[in-house]
């Protein structure tokens, strides 16, 4: 217990991973397409981590997640393109708006799980509709063009391999933040809540406040990811922030393992790659997602991480957090 959380994070595995990830761009400098793909994976990995926090640790089925993704994206886009805001400020505003949206929804946390899931689902639908209908702000179904490249500390980041480092930094920061959270009294309370909510409540844990905090944090993450996506592509459109994306991110979390941080990243990579491939294969490929969701929930509820955990029973404490099922 006396080991600082930071020391716990830097296991041999994580050191190797971080170094390897940092070394990627020079290796791929000849292939901008692959770098672009990795960058997209990076954005979705951020999303997956955020959803995992709220779903895997909070047990909250946040079905409108892509809507918050969109709040961040559009906020950042509008502020920089139409109002000349500098990127850092717009980035911050993107997170703030996403959090504000979550605050709006937070009274719903009081509700029983099912009503809450329903409410988040509908909230996501509303947001998607707003992105489509509020043409004055979002330019409607056509999409929002002309989002400027981000300028950070005087440097304008345009090249994919520069953007990679921006995403890498943001992603690492997010990962560390979540890791820190989980290895603190807050994290203990979370894990306890997942196992036995009643015992928690009579022990003095304000379960509602915990869940709201998770909701807010995950929304901030989604907003940040949205901003990063917007400036990376220079263009955003409503379909990216709808139900299909919410399902895709859900799929990533389920695949990777609902309580495994590295799993979320792996899940993001796998799903993103599938999406890239199947857009080549054709429109019926979506069924793969459906079948996968069903099969995973039935046979592998703790995802690939659960599988890995079963295969190698002795992993460092920080990495292995799998369990039998999603719910407490």
């Amino acid at each position: 217990m006396a080991i600082s959380w930071l020391r716990r994070f830097w296991t041999p595995t994580s050191v190797v991973t971080v170094v390897a990830l940092a070394a990627v761009p020079p290796l791929l400098s000849g292939s901008p397409y692959h770098l672009f793909l990795l960058n997209t994976i990076g954005v979705f990995a951020m999303l997956a981590l955020g959803l995992q926090l709220v779903l895997g640790y909070g047990g909250i089925l946040q079905l409108g997640y892509a809507g918050f993704f969109g709040l961040g994206a559009y906020t950042s886009a509008i502020l920089t393109a139409h109002h000349g805001w500098p990127f850092p400020a717009a980035f911050g505003a993107a997170m703030a708006v996403a959090v504000a949206g979550a605050v709006l929804m937070s009274p719903i946390v009081r509700l029983r799980d099912v009503n809450f899931a329903m409410a988040t689902f509908v909230f996501g639908l509303i947001l998607e509709l707003v992105y489509n209908q509020w043409s004055d702000m979002t330019n409607g179904p056509i999409g929002f063009r002309g989002i400027p490249a981000p300028t950070l500390l005087g440097v304008t980041i345009v090249e994919p391999h520069h953007y990679y480092y921006l995403l890498f930094a943001a992603g690492l920061a997010e990962y560390l933040l979540i890791f820190r959270l989980l290895h603190s009294p807050f994290g203990t309370a979370l894990r306890a809540m997942r196992e036995n909510e009643t015992a928690c409540r009579t022990s003095g844990v304000d379960v509602t406040r915990l869940k709201v905090t998770l909701l807010l944090v995950s929304s901030a993450v989604a907003g940040a990811a949205g901003s990063l996506l917007a400036h990376m592509n220079g263009f955003v459109s409503p379909p990216t922030f709808g139900w299909a994306t919410s399902v895709a991110v859900l799929m990533m979390v389920v695949l990777g393992g609902v309580r495994s941080l590295p799993g979320a990243i792996v899940g993001a990579a796998v799903i993103r790659l599938i999406v890239e491939q199947t857009s080549v294969l054709g429109q019926h490929s979506n069924i793969v997602f459906g079948v996968a969701l069903v099969l995973f929930m039935a046979f592998l509820p703790s995802g690939l991480a659960g599988l890995a955990g079963g295969l190698c029973a002795r992993l460092p404490r920080g990495a292995r957090v799998g369990a039998r099922s999603v719910t407490p």
């Binding site: 029983r112 409410a119 689902f121 209908q133 069924i287 039998r324 999603v326």
Partner: protein, 291 residues
């Protein structure tokens, strides 16, 4: 004035479709605690199957309703049997809910595969025809929908309160453990629930598709019935009916008087507002469940 009346009838008619779907949805929730995301897509399948039957066999509408209903009832049962029942032993509700999302995707893609992407119109004979009655344009279809919905609600209400089976179903929903101790065969109740709700969804699908069109994304209309279910008090069958009618009215009137483009947003926002202010819905009894 007659304009308003026409709107009201239309709103109620649309509402009754929402009600039929919402009733099934609520029933499933009530009996199994499950949010069945694939339920609206079952409605869609009903509409598609109805299309095929209508073009191939030209049976009269009531029979079409019946046949589609039965088909979808079977499908609903099958999905439960194959997909949900094995998982119920695990006891993780969240997993089940996520699985229904998977089934929703599967159903939509199956429909895409079998019927293609283009919207399909029902044969001429089935399309709603307005008639002038007392100066108002009345669409018998709408009245029929309203009628079916009302009959269904009354029947279900009686079923849940007066019959042994219905009371058993209710007891199962309230407290599965206690129900089991009382000797109620839970699995049978759940099977019945899936059959019945599937039937209603299938029939509703035919009604919708005949008015609008048959297409793989018909489920989107069904999603609005989620709103109806919650509006009326989630899990309450009577509430689902009222919620559906209310939603239909609000949507229709909103579209006409405020803005057609925003009518969905109005409906959904209303839903969230209700969830915030009165989480148990309009008709929901204050549940004894803590918090």
């Amino acid at each position: 004035m007659s304009e308003l009346l026409g709107l009201l009838v239309f709103g109620l008619a649309i509402g009754s479709i929402y009600s039929l779907i919402a009733i099934g949805f609520s029933m499933i929730y009530r009996a199994t605690g499950l949010l069945h995301f694939a339920h609206p897509d079952l409605m869609m399948i009903g509409g598609m199957v109805g299309y095929t039957l209508a073009t191939r066999t030209q049976v009269p509408m009531p029979l079409l309703f019946l046949l589609s209903g039965l088909t979808v009832a079977g499908l609903s049962w099958l999905i439960d049997r194959v997909g949900f029942r094995p998982m119920r032993r695990q006891g993780a509700l969240l997993n089940l809910i996520i699985a229904t999302i998977g089934w929703s995707i599967i159903l939509v893609n199956v429909a895409l595969f079998v019927w293609g992407t283009a919207p399909l119109s029902y044969p001429e004979a089935y399309l709603p025809k307005g008639r002038m009655i007392g100066g108002i344009v009345v669409v018998p279809q709408n009245l029929a929908m309203l009628g079916v919905g009302l009959v269904a609600m009354v029947a279900l209400h009686l079923f849940f309160t007066r019959t042994v089976v219905g009371q058993a179903l209710r007891a199962t929903a309230e407290n599965p453990v206690a129900a089991q101790l009382m000797g109620i065969r839970i699995e049978r109740m759940m099977t019945l629930t899936f059959l019945l709700s599937g039937f209603l969804a299938g029939g509703a699908g035919v009604l919708v598709a005949s008015i609008v069109y048959a297409n793989f994304d018909l489920g989107l209309i069904g999603i609005k019935s989620f709103a109806a279910a919650v509006l009326g008090g989630f899990g309450q069958v009577g509430g689902a009916m009222v919620g559906g009618l209310l939603l239909g009215l609000v949507e229709t009137l909103g579209a006409f008087y405020v803005s057609s483009a925003y009518k969905d947003i109005i409906a959904y926002s209303l839903l969230i507002l209700i969830l915030l202010v009165r989480p148990q819905g309009l008709l929901g009894a204050g549940r004894a469940r803590p918090d």
